[in-house]
């Protein structure tokens, strides 16, 4: 009896281990497929021109995507500048206020915003900013990306600040620090690595967003960086080139996708690096 029970347990253990192992392998399949396909399809079109030249007119060989690279950079930086102070501030507030009715409301709204399809965000920003300004623009694109960024970073910041042990906060309070001093001087630095990770993951996410930019940044075949002018972005260009009928553009779209993935990869690696907080090692 006891023997059959223990045998059953051993088998259950083996089966569960196998199942989770298989799941781990399966998760790698799409990733490796995407990466290897991108490498073969896209790397051929990547050269110096790709990073330095504007797109060539239809029918001409060569050309690059420098406008889209610059555009994505500007869009993401501006979205960060607009959204991060709000998001980090709100996240800290939520972690501090915890159960207050207002905090619950804000948390609920952040979760709802997180669930809004990005195309809806794009239309919303189009209705409010593009129509108001009378034109597509870098500003409108950045606002759309910021609207996506804010709920993500708010929630990750809250989680990270909450993870700081209560003892650490009490240590500050017991020294006669005020609450804001304890939060800003002790709790936030302790959560710094986690907060930065959340920020970088969110920036990586929005740098690949296409839908919010369709009706806001719109795209631009020329170099542009003015706030009130339409601007290009890597995902927009991929979309535009991929649905075009030209083989040359298809190749460039693959290359752009490869660059975009590489960008996200670099940000992820940066995240790994930043997590290694010098005061966290043991």
């Amino acid at each position: 009896m006891a023997d059959s029970l223990s045998r059953r347990r051993r088998w259950t253990n083996r089966i569960m281990l196998t199942l989770t192992g298989v799941a781990s392998v399966l998760i790698l399949v799409p990733l490796t497929l995407i990466l290897s396909y991108l490498m073969t399809a896209g790397s051929g079109a990547i050269n110096i021109d790709f990073f330095t030249q504007l797109p060539a007119p239809v029918g001409e060989e060569g050309g690059g995507m420098v406008n889209a690279l610059v555009g994505t950079l500007f869009l993401v930086l501006l979205a960060g500048a607009l959204g991060l102070p709000i998001a980090v501030g709100a996240g800290i507030y939520l972690a501090e206020a915890r159960k207050s009715p207002f905090a619950n409301l804000v948390r609920f709204i952040a979760d709802v915003m997180n669930g809004i399809p990005s195309i809806v965000t794009g239309i919303f920003v189009w209705a409010w900013i593009v129509l108001w300004m009378g034109r597509f623009s870098l500003l409108a694109g950045s606002v759309a990306l910021a609207v996506m960024l804010i709920p993500m970073v708010t929630r990750t910041t809250e989680e990270m600040v909450r993870l700081v042990p209560r003892e650490l906060r009490e240590g500050g309070i017991a020294l006669g620090f005020t609450r804001w001093r304890t939060t800003l001087g002790i709790v936030i630095p302790a959560a710094r690595g986690g907060i930065l990770t959340g920020i970088l993951v969110a920036l990586a996410r929005i740098s690949g967003e296409t839908a919010p930019l369709l009706f806001t940044a719109f795209g631009n075949p020329f170099m542009e960086w003015r706030l009130n002018e339409p601007i290009s972005a890597l995902p927009l260009l991929i979309y535009q080139y991929a649905i075009s009928p030209y083989d040359e553009w298809h190749r460039l779209a693959w290359a752009a996708a490869l660059v975009l993935i590489a960008l996200v990869l670099v940000i992820s690696l940066l995240t790994r690096f930043l997590i290694k907080d010098p005061h966290r090692e043991r």
């Binding site: 650490l168 020294l175 006669g176 630095p189 090692e281």
Partner: protein, 285 residues
Amino acid sequence: MNAELQPSTMAPHRPSRSPGAEAEASALPPARELESAVEATDFSFWYGSNQALDSISLTVPARKVTALIGPSGCGKSTFLRSINRMNDLIPGIRHEGDITLHGDSVYRNDRDVVQLRKSVGMVFQKSNPFPKSIYQNVAYGPKVNRLVRGRAEMDELVERSLRRAALWDEVKDRLDSSALGLSGGQQQRLCIARALAVSPEVILMDEPASALDPVATQKIEELIYELKHEYTILIVTHNMQQAARVSDYTAFFYMGRLIEMGRTQQLFTNPHEEQTEAYITGRFG
């Protein structure tokens, strides 16, 4: 039956540190006759509808070590945290009665809690150094409270605090490395140094050695023994041998009430109350 137990059968676990210590201990007057640092009068405390303390009245003598003992949930930590109002952070609390620090009410309406917590330092069960360097851990309190002027003065204060906490020799060559790289015992002594740096009068210790190995524990106990010449120390401990070793006075809490307080030696060898005797002889708790 209890009355038949002779005091000598309950060996006092008090290894004297010096021949004088034993004499000193037996010569101690009752706590009420000494200058008092902290005094509680009919102090009751509630977490929501749950009463944690019931009419506690007790006198903590200045520049002595007073131990609070009792089983888990008896209210000893709650009482400790009522003195520097750490419980203020918890929603839904209320209290009756009063606690005074040198005759000045801790709970009066216009009390500056920040000032209060500067004069009443605290050391926690789990060592909680800030994720900063060793130097910054000690310097942060004085910096925020603007206690010193200039780098040289700060260096001196940091060194003095670390020396008092018996940590200086172990860390003087790596003041700028992370406090989290220290051992558990060192971290706890760093937390004591951090508390000392803002010049408190009273130090509250909430089971400061319960997470430490015997060697580190001994160092903390020796430190407490040194510090009592200058500071009033209240220590909550589950370890009765520790209470007997380090404290001059002991208060026994049970179910939110103060059962008995007296000289440690007397309380451990000849308690007045049956409940105290039952607890210290290990029959419950």
